[in-house]
Symmetry: C2
Subunit: 121 residues, 2 copies
DNA sequence: CAACAAGCTGGAGTGCACTCAAGGTCAAGT
DNA sequence: ACTTGACCTTGAGTGCACTCCAGCTTGTTG
């Protein structure tokens, strides 16, 4: 759809994912094979950028490479896998909510410990 | 203060930290040397239990073993290190808040993707 | 045209936080 | 007396997710 192309360096800059990691994700099947320029260099599309953002976000919230690979494989298998993919997202959503709750508790605990330190800066 | 003692198994059960990990934390200096029964077996105090809860919580929110060790070393050095320990907690507090924010964004993104899947089930 | 930057591949290496294994002690139960 | 189970120590092994390296090609710049 979008033909804007991004070099690996631009993609790394934009998404905060390192060059090595971008290549690693592609090798692991988390990224459809990326377009190439005539010289063989990768040219990422705008859609790639959006998907890599999603990858970054799911990774940052604890989805494993293995789970992401599975999700991608399902996507490649077509529409019949939609319910399963949806379920994966729902499950991960609940995980994220638990993480938020866990962190709220952590804040409480840290604040409690900090009261112990009320003193000079 | 509290003399209630807990066996390793009880402590693992109570804190959700495995036996191996409890020993590992002690080896790494994250735990003051634990009391021993006559037979050499560990006997954790109620205070140990509270501290292990703190460890679990700080670990779960991304503090590294190295940072925890440093925090413990400061504690062992006495009251003059209080400001630095306080600062460590303040820094970690900000980290946790960023994690919560990151996860709120992740929820938005996942929800957005889920809209794509509004369908059966 | 030389030199440098950017990227390529395949494969090896790294760091972290556990986790497991081997061989032993000790107390209690049968 | 023997077995079981909980625990001990030292040291090695594991899994994950990168991250780095060597040696190469290609395109640009002074």
């Amino acid at each position: 759809m979008t033909n804007t192309t991004l070099t690996p360096a631009q993609m790394a800059e934009r998404t905060g994912v390192s060059l090595d990691t971008l290549r690693y994700y592609e090798r692991e099947g988390l990224l459809d094979d990326v377009e190439r320029a005539d010289n063989g260099h990768r040219r990422y599309s705008e859609d790639d950028a959006l998907w890599i953002e999603v990858l970054r976000c799911l990774r940052a919230t604890g989805m494993t490479i293995e789970q992401l690979r599975h999700y991608c494989e399902l996507g490649a298998q077509g529409d019949t896998t939609k319910p399963e993919r949806r379920q994966i997202l729902l499950d991960h959503r609940r995980l994220i909510e638990r993480q938020i709750e866990e962190r709220r508790e952590a804040l409480r605990l840290v604040d409690h410990k900090l009261e112990h330190y009320r003193e000079i800066t």
